[in-house]
C-alpha cells in the first residue's frame, strides 16, 4: 500500500461488438419483422414503423394528428376504454410522428406479449377518428402550441428549419394557429388508410422474446390487408431562404437562443461518418471546442451543442445554445471563430485520439442491450442501410487523419451557406 501512487491507469483498446443477434422474417401479408433477442429482464420493446411522417402531409399537423388520434377510439373501444386497457396491462405506449416515419413504440412485460400485440393491432389498424375526440385534441394542441411559442428555443429552432428547408417543404414549414382548425376526421381517415398499411409496416421486436412470438405476430398482424389505394406522391422542393441572418424579438426574454447551421449530406453519403467526427470535435461532446470555449472558459452558457442529423431527403448541421442576452453577439462571434479554426488549422493528433475513443465508447453504448440495439438498427434501416453503416463509422473513427478532417471541413463547414437565427 505504501508504494501506491495515484497515477493514471493504462487505457486498454476496446471496440464495439456490432454483429447483433438479428432474425428477420416476413409475415403472410408482407409486413417485415426484425427480432433482436437479448437482455436479462422479462421486458419487450416493440416499434412499429410506417412511412407516414411529416414529409407525407399536404397540410401542417396532419401526420402528427393522425398519429395522436390512434389511441382516441377504435372499432372495439372508446378512447377511455382503450387507454384503460393499455394501462391495465402496464403497456407504455409512445406514439411518434417524425419528419420521415411515424408509428409507435411500446414497452411491456414479456408475459403480456400476445395481449399487447392484440391491443397494438387495434390501435394501429382500427382507429375511428371520432370528431368529438379530434376537436378536444386540437384544442389541447393549440394550448400546448401557444405555450411552446413562449420558449425562445422553439422560436429559434422553428425559424431555423424554415430557413434551411424552405417554408414550402414539410421539413421546414412552420405551424400557425389557423392550422389547428383545419383537421377533420375524413382528412385523418384518408391519411391513415393510405399510409398506415399493414403490408408496409416494419416491426422491430427486442428483449426477452417468448417462443410464441412469431405465431402471435402472424395472428395479430399477418392476416391484415388494406384496400388498394393509389398513393399520389408529390415531391415538394427543398429550397432554403435567401435571408441568412435573422433575429426574432421576444419581449421579456432574459436569454437569447442561437441556432447556426445549414443543410448538409445525410447518412447515405460516404463522407457522413467523417462529418460526424468533425462535428463531435466542434460541439458533440462535453470536451468539445464550443463547450470548452463558450461554457468552460467564458461562462456564457449552461450548454452549447453541435449536431449533424439525417432526414430521408436531406440532412442538417446545427449549433444550438442559449446565452444571457448581453453575451449573444460575443457568443456568435466565438462560434464563427471556432468554425474558422476547423477550416484553417489541422486538428492535432491528441484531440483526434480523444474524440476517437469517445466515439468508440458511444458506439459500445449504442449496442448495449436489446433496446439500444433496436434503436441503432432502426436508425440505419430507415435509410436503407444495414449494420455495415456502423462498421464504417468504427473504421472512420480509428483511421481518420488531420488532412481528411481539414478537407471535410472545407467541403462541409464553409460559412458561406450558414443560417444564423437568434431569438430573445
Amino acid at each position: 500500500m505504501s508504494s501506491f501512487q495515484r497515477i493514471q491507469p493504462p487505457v486498454h483498446p476496446f471496440d464495439a461488438q456490432i454483429d447483433i443477434p438479428l432474425k428477420s422474417l416476413a409475415l403472410n401479408n408482407g409486413a417485415r419483422v426484425f427480432m433482436i433477442e437479448a437482455g436479462t429482464e422479462d421486458v419487450i420493446r416493440i416499434e412499429c414503423v410506417f412511412r407516414a411522417g411529416i414529409i407525407k402531409e399536404n397540410l401542417p399537423l396532419l401526420a402528427s394528428s393522425a398519429n395522436m388520434m390512434l389511441t382516441e377510439g377504435s372499432e372495439k373501444y372508446t378512447s377511455e376504454e382503450l387507454n384503460a386497457l393499455l394501462d391495465y396491462y402496464g403497456i407504455f405506449l409512445n406514439l411518434q410522428a417524425e419528419r420521415d416515419t411515424a408509428g409507435l413504440t411500446a414497452y411491456f412485460l414479456s408475459r403480456y406479449f400476445d395481449k399487447s400485440l392484440e391491443l397494438i393491432a387495434e390501435v394501429l389498424f382500427s382507429p375511428v377518428f371520432p370528431a368529438k375526440e379530434l376537436e378536444k385534441l386540437m384544442k389541447k394542441r393549440l394550448n400546448w402550441f401557444r405555450i411552446n411559442r413562449e420558449k425562445v428555443q422553439n422560436i429559434a429552432s422553428d425559424r431555423f428549419f424554415e430557413s434551411v428547408f424552405g417554408q414550402n417543404h414539410p421539413y421546414g414549414r412552420q405551424v400557425s394557429e389557423p392550422d389547428f382548425d383545419g383537421m377533420t376526421p375524413s382528412l385523418l381517415r384518408d391519411f391513415h388508410s393510405r399510409l398506415y398499411r399493414p403490408e408496409e409496416m416494419a416491426v422491430i421486436v427486442s428483449g426477452k422474446i417468448p417462443g410464441s412470438a412469431s405465431a402471435s405476430l402472424e395472428k395479430h398482424f399477418g392476416g391484415l390487408r388494406s384496400e388498394k389505394i393509389q398513393n399520389i406522391e408529390t415531391e415538394s422542393i427543398l429550397e432554403g431562404s435567401p435571408v441568412r441572418k435573422e433575429h426574432i424579438k421576444k419581449k421579456g426574454a432574459v436569454q437569447t437562443a442561437i441556432r447556426i447551421g445549414a443543410a448538409t449530406i445525410n447518412k447515405r453519403h460516404p463522407d457522413y461518418p467523417g462529418l460526424k467526427f468533425l462535428n463531435v470535435i466542434l460541439g458533440g461532446y462535453f470536451g468539445s471546442r464550443l463547450m470548452k470555449n463558450i461554457r468552460e472558459e467564458k461562462g456564457y452558457t449552461y450548454g452549447i451543442h453541435s449536431i449533424v442529423s439525417s432526414f430521408d431527403k436531406s440532412g442538417f448541421r446545427m449549433i444550438s445554445t442559449e446565452v444571457g442576452r448581453e453575451n449573444a453577439g460575443k457568443a456568435v462571434d466565438e462560434i464563427k471563430k471556432e468554425i474558422n479554426l476547423l477550416l484553417t488549422i489541422p486538428v492535432q493528433a491528441d484531440e483526434i485520439e480523444v474524440v476517437s475513443n469517445y466515439m468508440a465508447g458511444e458506439l459500445v453504448r449504442l449496442f448495449d442491450g436489446p433496446m439500444a440495439i433496436a434503436e441503432s438498427f432502426k436508425s440505419a434501416w430507415e435509410f436503407g442501410l444495414d449494420l455495415s453503416y456502423f462498421s464504417t463509422i468504427m473504421h472512420t473513427i480509428r483511421t481518420i487523419t488531420p488532412e481528411e478532417l481539414l478537407k471535410l471541413a472545407n467541403t462541409y463547414y464553409t460559412t458561406g451557406d450558414i443560417y444564423e437565427i437568434t431569438a430573445g
Binding site: Q8, T40, D87, I147, Q255, G287, K298, Y302, Y358
Partner: protein, 416 residues
C-alpha cells in the same frame, strides 16, 4: 431479482456491486449524502454549484473529462434536495480509470477562484435557462416556500435567487466540501461487467486510503404541521393559466410512501387516470394534468399540477380537481383499477432494470435509506397496498388545511 454484494471499507465507504455479464460496460455511481437541504439558508444553490466544481480537476488530474473520454467513458451528475449523485459508464476493460478519477476528486479537488467564477456564471445561466426564461419555470420556486416555512426543502436545488450563487466564496465552497465529501458520507456502487472481488480490490486500492473525515450529525429544523390552507397567486405574460396544489406527506421510508405513490398514479398515471378522465377528457378544463410525489427523504409533498384550457375559470377548474380527489376518501377503488396501477409499477420497474445506470442509482438510494436489498422488495411493497389503505391515506392527507395552492394566472391576450 438484482443480486449484489455489499462491503464497508475501514474509512466508512460503502461499496455495492451487482455483476451483469450481458453488457460490455460497467457503471459506477458515487452518491454523496449531501443535498440542498444541507445548505446555509443564506447561500442556497451551494450543493449544486459544488457538483459543477467537482468537474474542474484535482491537483493530480487537471481535467476530469479528458481521461474519461480517452477511456471511452461518459458521465454526468445531478443534485437534488437530499443527495449529490455522480455516475458514469465505461467499457469494462477501462474501469480502473473511473476508480482513479472518482477517488482523486473525493480526496482533493482543486478549487480556485477563477474556476469558481466561471462555474458561477454557468450556473446562473442554467438558472435563467431552466427557471427564469421558461414558461412556468419559476412555479416550484414559488410553491416550495409556500408549502414549507421552516425545513430547508423550502428552497429549490438551483437556489433561492441568482444573488445567492453570486455571493458564494471559495472558502464557503471548501467548507461545504470538507463537511460533506468524504468516504463516510459516500456510497460507491458498481454494476455491469465486473466481479465483486475485482470491484472490492480496486475500491480498496483507490479509495481505501482516503481519510474518513469528520462526521457530523444532520440536525435540520423539522417542518411544523400545517394547520391552515395557504394560497398564492402570481400573474405572468403567458397564454395559459396553471394550477399547482401541494399537500404534505411522510418521508421516503414512511409507511404511507407506496400508498401515496399509487394514489398519484390512480389520479394521473397514463391517459386513464381519474383526473385525466374527468378534467381533461370529460370536462375539457385542462390541457394536461399531472400528479406525483416528490419522494424526498424527509417528509415530502404530493403535488397536483395542471395547465388550464383557454378561458377556463381557475376556481372552477380547482373545484373539479378537488372533487375527483375527494372521491378517494368516500369510496374504495375497484379491483381492476388497483391492479392497473400495480401492473404499471411492475412494468416500469422491470424496464428500469434494463439499464445498469438505473440499477446502480437505485441500489445506492436504497442503501442510503438503510438497506440496499429493499430494491428487490419494492414490487412486493406496492403489491401489498390495499383498497382500505388507499382510502385511509387519502382521508389523512387530502385536507384543505394540509394544502398549499398556487394560481399561476395567464394575462397574455391571444386570438379566439
Amino acid at each position: 431479482m438484482i443480486d449484489f454484494r455489499s462491503y464497508r471499507l475501514d474509512n466508512g465507504l460503502r461499496l455495492l456491486v451487482h455483476e451483469d455479464r450481458s453488457t460490455p460496460l460497467v457503471a459506477m455511481n458515487v452518491l454523496y449524502d449531501a443535498g440542498s437541504r444541507d445548505e446555509d439558508p443564506s447561500l442556497t444553490g451551494m450543493a449544486h454549484l459544488v457538483e459543477h466544481l467537482m468537474y474542474c480537476g484535482t491537483g493530480n488530474i487537471p481535467e476530469y473529462d479528458l481521461p474519461l473520454q480517452l477511456a471511452g467513458g461518459e458521465n454526468n451528475a445531478f443534485t437534488n434536495n437530499d443527495i449529490t449523485n455522480y455516475y458514469l459508464t465505461l467499457p469494462s476493460g477501462n474501469i480502473e480509470t473511473a476508480f482513479w478519477l472518482e477517488s482523486d476528486r473525493m480526496l482533493a479537488p482543486d478549487f480556485t477562484g477563477r474556476k469558481l467564477d466561471v462555474q458561477k456564471s454557468v450556473v446562473i445561466e442554467e438558472f435563467k435557462q431552466r427557471y427564469l426564461n421558461q414558461p412556468y419555470g419559476d412555479a416550484m420556486l414559488r410553491l416550495r416556500p409556500l408549502a414549507y416555512t421552516t425545513h430547508p426543502y423550502r428552497w429549490p436545488t438551483i437556489g433561492i435567487d441568482p444573488s445567492h450563487i453570486e455571493r458564494i466564496s471559495l472558502e464557503n465552497v471548501q467548507h461545504f466540501f470538507s463537511r460533506h465529501y468524504n468516504p463516510g458520507k459516500a456510497i460507491l456502487t458498481l454494476t455491469g461487467n465486473i466481479t465483486p472481488d475485482r470491484a472490492y480490490d480496486l475500491a480498496q486500492l483507490w479509495f481505501g486510503s482516503i481519510p474518513s473525515g469528520e462526521q457530523h450529525d444532520r440536525s435540520l429544523p423539522s417542518e411544523p404541521v400545517q394547520t391552515e390552507e395557504r394560497h398564492m397567486t402570481v400573474e405572468r405574460d403567458l397564454p395559459a393559466s396553471a394550477l399547482y396544489k401541494a399537500w404534505h406527506m411522510g418521508p421516503r421510508s414512511g409507511s404511507d410512501f407506496h400508498t401515496m405513490d399509487l394514489i398519484t398514479d390512480l389520479l394521473a398515471g397514463g391517459e386513464s387516470g381519474r383526473l385525466y378522465n374527468r378534467v381533461v377528457r370529460d370536462l375539457n378544463l385542462f390541457s394536461e394534468i399531472n400528479a406525483y410525489i416528490t419522494s424526498d427523504l424527509d417528509p415530502g409533498l404530493v403535488i397536483v399540477t395542471g395547465k388550464l384550457m383557454k378561458g377556463v375559470n381557475i376556481e372552477k377548474a380547482e373545484t373539479a380537481v378537488i372533487r375527483v380527489i375527494d372521491e378517494l376518501k368516500d369510496t374504495v377503488p375497484m379491483d381492476d383499477e388497483i391492479d392497473k396501477v400495480k401492473n404499471r409499477y411492475e412494468s416500469s420497474t422491470v424496464l428500469s432494470n434494463t439499464s445498469i445506470l438505473n440499477k446502480a442509482l437505485n441500489l445506492s438510494v436504497f442503501e442510503l435509506l438503510g438497506d440496499a436489498s429493499r430494491i428487490n422488495r419494492e414490487v412486493e411493497n406496492y403489491r401489498a397496498v390495499s383498497k382500505p389503505m388507499i382510502k385511509d391515506a387519502a382521508i389523512r392527507h387530502f385536507n384543505p388545511e394540509n394544502c398549499s395552492t398556487l394560481y399561476y394566472i395567464a394575462s397574455k391576450k391571444t386570438g379566439k
